[in-house]
């Protein structure tokens, strides 16, 4: 019957962090999926790397970097 109260370590700021990560998850889920990936299935290379290959690893790295930054700046 104890009244709901925020757990220590989970108060202000944490909620924003969580929301950001959920947003990042949705963004990554969209980017990692066929309709958007398919757009980069074109011939041709970027800096000698095939476009699709570079794109996948590029957004993957970007998502990881955003996750790291989001954790640091909360």
């Amino acid at each position: 019957m104890s009244a709901p109260e925020p757990t220590p370590g989970h108060e202000a700021g944490s909620g924003r962090y969580r929301d950001r990560m959920i947003g990042l998850f949705l963004l990554a889920a969209a980017l990692f999926n066929p309709p958007l990936l398919g757009l980069f299935g074109v011939k041709g290379t970027v800096l000698g790397v095939p476009a699709l290959y570079g794109w996948v690893f590029g957004i993957w790295a970007a998502v990881i970097a955003l996750a790291a930054v989001a954790g640091r700046t909360r």
């Binding site: 104890s2 998850f25 990692f32 996948v56 790291a68």
Partner: protein
């Protein structure tokens, strides 16, 4: 291809490497024991998650890339996505696992759904069936890569038990036994094992990157030239585009479906694979480590996959179709003249295999022991177990046997299946098996209404559909079932074709299976949950899981502790049970300094349950406690809940016994209630006579005096005045009496007008003192008031509070002998106001204390004479205080100036302060609205 390395040298290198892992693990265990943990670091935690990357990653990714292009990536994108959700999902799971001392994913699910042994066993079995072949794949990968490295130097042994597969299985079993089953409390961590797998993760990453750099820059002069060369070959150019991985973008299903299905499955596997749950949840030392793992682990996955496509292309350019692409990682450096690098690659693959095998077997053995073997043993042989004083060796033996059995099973599968399709494809098939736990797992975190039957139904239905649409067809493709099983369906029924169930054609087999199994799983889970009622323990567990952030970290796992549990067990009983499973030292430490004969009480019972749960899982812990501690007196409902989960005959008869016992108890309760009613009836009669007596006394004197006044007009004025004063006093007494009776009746009927608001307690107390001062003076009792200058406002009804204090004061005035003292003490305590009236009267005997606030009751009996009053003052005070959200009670007067005559009594009550006083808080103390009692 060049001749391979000397097999003996490779073997020695491998054994040296594995010995080094043993040494690291041993060192980490020693450091942990010395209190300087090496695994309490977010980086080590993130690296240990790298156990996700098995040989299926190390060698298999290249193989998959050779046909799918970037189609190997969803297996790593899924976990990346899952990690992004960790602030939401994983943190909650970690918190729950810590609070409930979870030992495995089977234990997690069983605990969530009311400690269901059936669910725990089902999960343990599904995981074992789904994952053991995956272990076989690891053995095969090590064996095959060893052959590739040595050029088949070691004679292929036709004899079983004499090949590399068996060797690695033996070493791994040894490792798992030494570092995974050293102690029985699995909820504690395995620092040695975690340190070793973190190191292995590092080794396999370095090995992969080294091979990648060597291949790209050493063999092909850079990425651009490698890709340019590949682009000239149409069969390789295909791998660079999206078609291999995604198919024609216009067609749904097909590889498209495979991409999406693989992403979903690998995200689920990241959480549900026993080894992932082990490192992610069980071995986690601090949930804050997630904050680094959230990006470090995906980064690890990215790095280990960076060179997969270049290595694939280079291999295909170098060897064409002559060599299995799975072996490129070893073959390319060997072919390029870098034997040491090939050896490093082999060690990387060995690391991947070793880490996976060790953690998986430890996780599976814990699960099998706690959720399958122990519940069965506890139910079938409770007597044999009860005889044994220390069960720790038995638990360890069960786990060690389970480890050996799992590895033998894996080895057997490897020998039997060899290069059959069933083995090659087992990676994703395993993922699909464990993904069946995901709905019950995630649903259980957020959906309070999910029930045990729903979870059992969901997991069972999903697992059956999985077996039918993935496992059996893989057997058919390996030739163990007729090929027509896939092509025409069993018995030629086309609607039942396992890859096109009910005519769902043209789908990728994995997506097809995912669709149907998810449909069956989630359908059964939701459907059965919606149409089922939760038991009490289920409801309590559901709340403990869903609201884990709302309750204190070590809140009670269950709120339904029945009083019988408390009374039935003594500390000695608990110590004995805990000692049997965890060893005497542990038990000694847990219950040190308490008298063995003391009743255990809910706190210690909970502690014992938590300790046991850490060792043998939640489901077994309850049964163990119930069977050994509460042999005679378990509450029927509680036992029914535990027993309804078995069809066992013994349990059934025991249930009948309990029911009989419960019936007897109910009869006793009825008899007691009857006696109480009789007593109340007697009290009512007493009350009536008291009231009548009380009314008659003043009436008599009023009547007598007024008759005298009436008959004798010559009475001296002094005398007349005195008589009139007596008449007035007696009338007042009469009025007071009648008011009290009326008040009581109103309170009982709930018809009293309450004007609850913020009041100044100091004013109320002063008024009450003023109202009773005369009484004290008249009886020659000294009344002193001790309260702070400023009292904070409280929540209450000012008239009623005055009434309470007046009642307590007049009560004190009644019982304090002339010349005695009464003190009114007010102070702040525990966030409320506490007012005490301390007298120097005879005190209230302990046996009467629970009754003095009853209606019609008066302290003292016929022997000590009847004190004045109706016996209503205290009853009214109690009802008012409780209505205002406070508590009331009586205790011995504290030693001091008042204690000189008799012991004295201290009547006290509390009132909530106004600032914390919202309705919620005021309702928290036990407000009783009982009409009787």
């Amino acid at each position: 291809m060049e001749a391979g390395l000397d097999w003996a040298a490779v073997l020695i290198a491998a054994l040296l490497y594995l010995s080094a892992l043993f040494a690291i693990a041993h060192w980490a265990d020693r450091r942990e024991a010395a209190g300087r943990s090496v695994i309490a670091s977010p980086t080590v935690f993130a690296l240990s998650l790298g156990v996700y990357c098995t040989t299926w990653t190390f060698y298999g990714s290249v193989g998959r890339a050779a046909t799918l292009g970037i189609g190997f990536l969803p297996v790593y994108l899924g976990p990346t996505l899952l990690m992004l959700l960790s602030p939401l999902l994983l943190r909650k799971i970690l918190r729950i696992a810590k609070a409930q001392r979870i030992t495995s994913i089977a234990d997690f699910l069983a605990s969530r759904y009311g400690h269901s042994p059936v669910l725990g066993g089902l999960v343990a079995l599904t995981a074992t069936v789904g994952v053991t072949p995956y272990i076989a794949l690891q053995l095969k990968a090590v064996a095959v890569s060893f052959d590739a490295l040595t050029g088949g130097g070691l004679e292929k042994s036709a004899e079983p038990f004499l090949d590399q597969g068996f060797l690695i299985a033996t070493v791994m079993a040894l490792f798992a036994i030494v570092f995974g089953t050293r102690q029985i409390d699995a909820a504690e961590h395995h620092p040695g094992m975690v340190a070793a797998i973190a190191l292995e993760s590092l080794v396999k990453l370095i090995a992969f990157l080294a091979v990648g750099v060597f291949v790209v820059w050493g063999l092909h002069g850079g990425l651009d030239s490698l890709f340019a060369m590949a682009a000239t070959r149409p069969d390789l150019a295909r791998l660079l585009g999206s078609e291999a991985a995604l198919g024609d973008a216009t067609a749904g299903g097909g590889p498209w479906g495979a991409w999406v299905a693989t992403t979903i499955l690998s995200a689920a596997a990241m959480l549900c694979l026993p080894r992932q749950f082990q490192v992610l949840v069980i071995e986690s030392t601090d949930e804050r480590h997630l904050d680094r793992a959230i990006w470090l682990f995906p980064l690890y996955l990215l790095l280990i996959n960076l060179f997969v496509l270049p290595v694939t292309l280079s291999g295909l350019l170098t060897f064409g179709g002559r060599l299995d692409p799975d072996l490129f990682m070893v073959a390319l450096p060997l072919n390029g003249g870098a034997g040491w690098l090939a050896l490093l690659a082999f060690l990387g693959g060995l690391s991947a295999a070793a880490g996976m095998i060790v953690v998986e077997t430890v996780a599976l053995s814990t699960m099998l022991c706690n959720d399958l073997v122990m519940p069965i043993l506890l139910r079938t042989r409770p007597r044999a177990l009860a005889r044994s004083a220390d069960l720790a060796p038995l638990l360890l033996a069960v786990r060690r046997i389970a480890i050996v059995a799992i590895l033998l099973f894996g080895y057997g599968y490897f020998r039997l299946a060899g290069s059959a399709y069933a083995l090659v494809s087992i990676g994703l098939i395993s993922f699909a098996a464990v993904a069946q736990f995901a709905p019950a797992l995630i649903g259980g975190l957020y959906w309070r209404g999910a029930t045990r039957r729903g979870a059992i139904g969901g997991v069972a239905a999903g697992a059956l559909v999985w077996a039918y649409t993935l496992l059996l067809p893989s057997f058919a493709r390996s030739g163990w079932l007729p090929a027509s099983f896939i092509a025409d369906g069993p018995w030629g029924i086309a609607a039942l074709r396992p890859y096109a169930l009910f005519g769902l054609e043209g789908w990728d087999s994995l997506a097809h299976s995912l669709f149907w199994s998810a449909l069956a799983n989630i359908g059964a889970y939701a459907g059965l949950s919606l149409f089922n009622r939760q038991g009490a323990s289920e409801r309590a567990q559901a709340a403990a899981f869903v609201d884990v952030f709302q309750s204190a970290p070590d809140a009670a796992p269950r709120g339904d502790g029945s009083p019988d549990w408390r009374n039935a067990a003594s500390v000695g009983d608990l110590t004995r049970v805990v000692a049997r499973f965890l060893g005497p030292q542990r038990a000694e430490r847990a219950f040190t300094g308490t008298d063995p004969d003391e009743p255990a009480g809910p706190e210690r019972l909970r502690l014992a349950e938590r300790l046991l749960a850490g060792a043998i899982g939640g489901a077994s812990a309850r049964v163990a406690l119930a069977s050994s501690v509460l042999a005679g007196a378990v509450e029927a409902a509680e036992l029914l809940r535990m027993l309804d989960e078995t069809s066992d005959v013994i349990a059934h008869s025991r249930e009948l016994e309990r029911k009989t016992a419960e019936l007897e108890r109910a009869t006793d309760a009825l008899r007691a209630a009857n006696e109480r009613l009789t007593e109340l009836d007697r009290l009512k009669d007493d009350f009536l006579s008291t009231v009548t007596h009380e009314l008659r006394t003043p009436l008599t004197s009023i009547r007598a005096l007024s008759e005298i006044l009436h008959d004798d007009p010559e009475l001296a004025p002094d005398q007349r005045q005195e008589f009139l004063a007596v008449i007035i006093k007696e009338s007042e007494r009469l009025t007071r009496l009648i008011n009290q009776v009326l008040d009581m009746a109103k309170i009982e009927a709930g018809a009293l007008d309450w004007r609850i608001g913020t009041i100044d307690p100091g004013r109320a107390l002063t008024e009450a003192v003023a109202a009773t001062e005369a009484l004290f003076r008249e009886r020659g009792i000294a009344l002193s008031v001790e309260m702070p200058e400023l009292l904070p406002p409280v929540q209450g009804d000012v008239d009623r509070v005055i009434q309470v204090v007046v009642n307590l004061l007049s009560n004190a005035a009644k019982f304090t002998p002339p010349g005695g003292r009464t003190r009114l003490v007010a102070r702040l305590e525990d966030g409320g106001l506490r007012v005490a009236v301390i007298d120097s009267g005879p005190g209230v005997p302990a046996k009467d204390r629970e009754f003095v606030f009853d209606r019609f009751r008066q302290s003292g009996d016929a022997l000590t004479g009847k004190p004045a009053g109706t016996g209503l003052g205290l009853a009214i005070a109690k009802r008012i205080v409780e209505h205002l959200g406070g508590r009331i009670g009586v205790e011995d007067a504290p030693a001091g100036p008042c204690a000189e005559s008799g012991t004295g009594a201290a009547f006290w009550f509390t009132l909530p302060l106004a600032m914390s006083g919202f309705a919620d808080d005021a309702g928290e103390p036990p407000v009783t609205d009982r009409k009787i009692d």
